[in-house]
Symmetry: D2
Amino acid sequence: MLYFRNDYQVGCIPEIMKALEANNSNIYMPHGQDVECQKAKDVLQSKMPDVHIDVHFVSGGTIANATIFKAILKPYEAVIACKTAHIATREAGAIEATGHKVIIVDDNDGKITPAAIEKTFNQHMLGYGMMVYPKAVFISNATEMGTIYSEDELHAIHDKCKELGLYLILDGERLGVTLMSGVGYTLNDIAKLCDIFTIGISKNGGLFGSAIVITNPELEDGFPFVMKQTGAIMAKSWLIGLQFQVLFQDDTFYQLAKHEDELSIQLQNALHNLGYPLLMKAYTNQVFPILTNEQFEYLSERVDFDIWDEWEGQYIIRLVTGFTTTQQDINDLCEVLKETAKIKLKK
Amino acid sequence: MLYFRNDYQVGCIPEIMKALEANNSNIYMPHGQDVECQKAKDVLQSKMPDVHIDVHFVSGGTIANATIFKAILKPYEAVIACKTAHIATREAGAIEATGHKVIIVDDNDGKITPAAIEKTFNQHMLGYGMMVYPKAVFISNATEMGTIYSEDELHAIHDKCKELGLYLILDGERLGVTLMSGVGYTLNDIAKLCDIFTIGISKNGGLFGSAIVITNPELEDGFPFVMKQTGAIMAKSWLIGLQFQVLFQDDTFYQLAKHEDELSIQLQNALHNLGYPLLMKAYTNQVFPILTNEQFEYLSERVDFDIWDEWEGQYIIRLVTGFTTTQQDINDLCEVLKETAKIKLKK
Amino acid sequence: MLYFRNDYQVGCIPEIMKALEANNSNIYMPHGQDVECQKAKDVLQSKMPDVHIDVHFVSGGTIANATIFKAILKPYEAVIACKTAHIATREAGAIEATGHKVIIVDDNDGKITPAAIEKTFNQHMLGYGMMVYPKAVFISNATEMGTIYSEDELHAIHDKCKELGLYLILDGERLGVTLMSGVGYTLNDIAKLCDIFTIGISKNGGLFGSAIVITNPELEDGFPFVMKQTGAIMAKSWLIGLQFQVLFQDDTFYQLAKHEDELSIQLQNALHNLGYPLLMKAYTNQVFPILTNEQFEYLSERVDFDIWDEWEGQYIIRLVTGFTTTQQDINDLCEVLKETAKIKLKK
Amino acid sequence: MLYFRNDYQVGCIPEIMKALEANNSNIYMPHGQDVECQKAKDVLQSKMPDVHIDVHFVSGGTIANATIFKAILKPYEAVIACKTAHIATREAGAIEATGHKVIIVDDNDGKITPAAIEKTFNQHMLGYGMMVYPKAVFISNATEMGTIYSEDELHAIHDKCKELGLYLILDGERLGVTLMSGVGYTLNDIAKLCDIFTIGISKNGGLFGSAIVITNPELEDGFPFVMKQTGAIMAKSWLIGLQFQVLFQDDTFYQLAKHEDELSIQLQNALHNLGYPLLMKAYTNQVFPILTNEQFEYLSERVDFDIWDEWEGQYIIRLVTGFTTTQQDINDLCEVLKETAKIKLKK
């Protein structure tokens, strides 16, 4: 069996395991007040020299998002997102559970446009006092569809948010593969454009953990209280801080992401050449080929993958490269896909 | 100025005011445990002989909806509605404030279809355990657009809900004008098709108040507790029970609604004959003509109405007939509309 | 049967019923944007000349409290109250349902002291970041026990709140009988001491309704949004505004309250002279005599009242005077109580 | 500096670190559907042969508690706890944030009695429909005060809960040191007495993680959905499952706990012999001596510890033994304490 189900199916890079072991007997202050978290913040700050950042480390992406919106929104305020956004789908209503509406707007391949933001904002102003007040925009980069925002697109969204008084929140659970996909912008640029963003490592070399980076000083106040309330603070937060140090002090984070991107592009090219329709062009480490029923069954027995959607006897599947995926894995997968492709021809 | 802004811009019918005055010195038990609420329940039950009903009286529609979904949904369960649904728009996020997602599905002129319900249900089953669980369907009848569900449509939605294990909840803030619009079904039929529905009177002869009618006995347990918690129980609930008695013991409720419908159809025909485009064909007491900028300005100075939407220099406005609207009011309005229509021609 | 169960067992004073009838056919803007609410605000403002007030009218006390704390507290902030406070008992967890903890502190006969506030505040500061942050103090005046805060006590609490940065919120569902009990302070004084307070009329001449008076301008922003979300805004809010006008333009509110107090003091004196133990000395319109089992049974057949608590074969009952209670009612009750008192002697 | 601040100030036992490293490259299913979590459940089930258990692994104690009460309580239901309970203090209102009241009852040294449960239950029944409905009892074992419930006490609470229809929920973040303190009951007994309980490992040999053990089958339904919603499910849950296997397959969990208890008892005896007053007699790994101001200052410079409370110039401090505390650490601490004790004498 070949494994392309997701990018968090294994543990961490050996360097992190070694660091955990080496510091396992140290005595640390609890709840993020330790020196490792402080050092990790310093390392991250050094990557974003143009912006003063406040950083908190939490165990994962869903609790990061729930904590962020609980902390920054007033009871009647809502967040704008697109229909494929993680907060709108695969978080089991975590945002609504904090009392806030997720307003769905149209998207292009998982990406929101300034026009869509403005349109929904204006509609809500027509119902001012009766409807929720849109106060934040949530984007994922890369998106759930594997697409990415260009620098121009990010600037345009940022400008629209500033104009309308909205916070821009960026979910960076796959920020590594985004920055390494040739976009031309950096972590420092992200910090300049967003009010809060996250950096996920569980899909990019780490065991677990996300950093919540707050760049808008108005949003810092009370944030740790909300983290405590949502259960987002780990007793031994140093475990996360240490992982961020390992990944960011030598740019390992970026190298792993680049590796994931390169293998994924190879895979996409192979799929294209084999004649598979693709849901959309991918730029990061997720590819979404469309299979017939027969192809799906054949492939299922040989490759472990996720089903993205199905209709009318067709399957959209997701193939994901991870930081431990090897060139040989890709070669083997392409061989299987070659055989799978023939099934259609036989029919 | 002519007043067509909404159907709750005046108080109540004189019979209700008289009843309130006549019973004003009576001593009543508080919080809905009084004889007037009991009598009102009995009257309502007599209108729905085929179904055992549990009834609670609350002050209005938003708190009715918030209380219903808070009471019947588990934390991870959600309600399906369309994008123009009151709970999705003009309740300022009241449902999300109770922790539950409102899942938006496609609609036809404000009406949900069984196909849309099934499609979104299946998508959520694909993400079982990760996404919210759709457990209820919310429809308004009449809808916010003034459209109504036919008996066949209601049966089809009811059957689909039963098939998928979903509760069917009907917002009846404008149920009177619906039942009198020639649909061919009755309160008793509604009771057979829905798990919970509301009957609003503040738009149909009453001062204020909604009845929450529970027909699914599984949903009765604990409901009064949740009402207490949301602040939905009025100390002097007898005020609402008495109003329901007056409106339902002699079918006054229906006569008022019929009056509203008839004047509204007259108005719609006049608009059509004057060449106004209409957002959609109305069946109840709301009409949505589309005006140019110049028409809008001219009419605004002579008639009090609500703006529904605006784009590209056009205005969709809402004209509503109420239980105190007279034939003379309609005649006067039609005169003004005739003048207004000419403005377009001049251009 | 004599009725002393509560002070909201009848409708309203005739003047209010007349005003409702007289204005029943007027056309009003909805949701509190009408002229009657504006006039009512002006009348209330005239009673509190030293403070600029923002006023909102809602249907009752529970929804007023839930809306206030939802509006003013951040997710991790909590409100301090005593164990008999309405928000801590008879609101079915309405405050917690908005996500906020009610921190219970010791009280004297239903009254909180500055020392109790400071002690619990300091304990929470020791757990800063781990415990909720106390941000508001909730007091009722009169309390649920019928006791009242003296002017000195109010000043002391106010000063302590200012010192610690806490909002002082006063529940005035029985503010009328408080101000008329000889305390020596006025509505204007209350406005100077509290950040937000309520004025209830359903227990003092009105059909229903509470005014939420905001004196701290920092707490005004967004308040109507939260009201909409909790369902606290009535479509025909003018009904409440009109009642407040009637009650406050000619000091009727105060005369009714004075009447309630006077009859209650008579009743308390009679109880004392008849040898009944009292739970505590009352100052307003609620009296809490303690009865034996036999007395309880005898009185239950002749008088309608509420049970406050029971232990060891004794009953604490509550006798309440209302604005329609007459001197004859009190005389009749005293006769019954005289007979009831003998039961103990017989044993 | 000697470190006695808490029992989670270091990482994990070497055996766990080795197991993590050994399995780091394995491919696992995400979100707790992996083989390590399944094996861990099997090991735990083997320790509780008399009860069928359902087990979920989460990252920590606060999120475990918030998830449990969100999952099992209806909106108007509440949980009974004592004032020192973790959910009542150091979780920043996490339970209230899910909408539920924590009802505080009297305790003896952190322990609840059946009499206190019954008294508060009955008071709430007097206010049935007006007050929250108490539906669960929360106890910690060991308590936050280091005290433990005897087997008789647990049975009595269990019986009272059964009689009143209440769920019994036990917080077992320090369950290891409880079971090894000579109480005479086992994990299997706990499983028979509680509806849900937790087992924490971050204070007893593990890096992080808690097991939520559900023994009442009625409470299983929908639990994973709520976990997803609160963000309690880690992507790589196998990390926790593996730790539980290591700790429970060879009774390492118990040996570590026994070690902590033994050193703590030594420490307590030393404190007693040195004349320190103790807040209460400890049975597990936490000791609470009371120091004067001068002693506090002297000790602070030599030992790292937590402040529990302070009043009138006295400090209650907490000294905690952990699984890495050595006999030498205790000896060194006792030496310092001997010097510290003299400070009082000098004065």
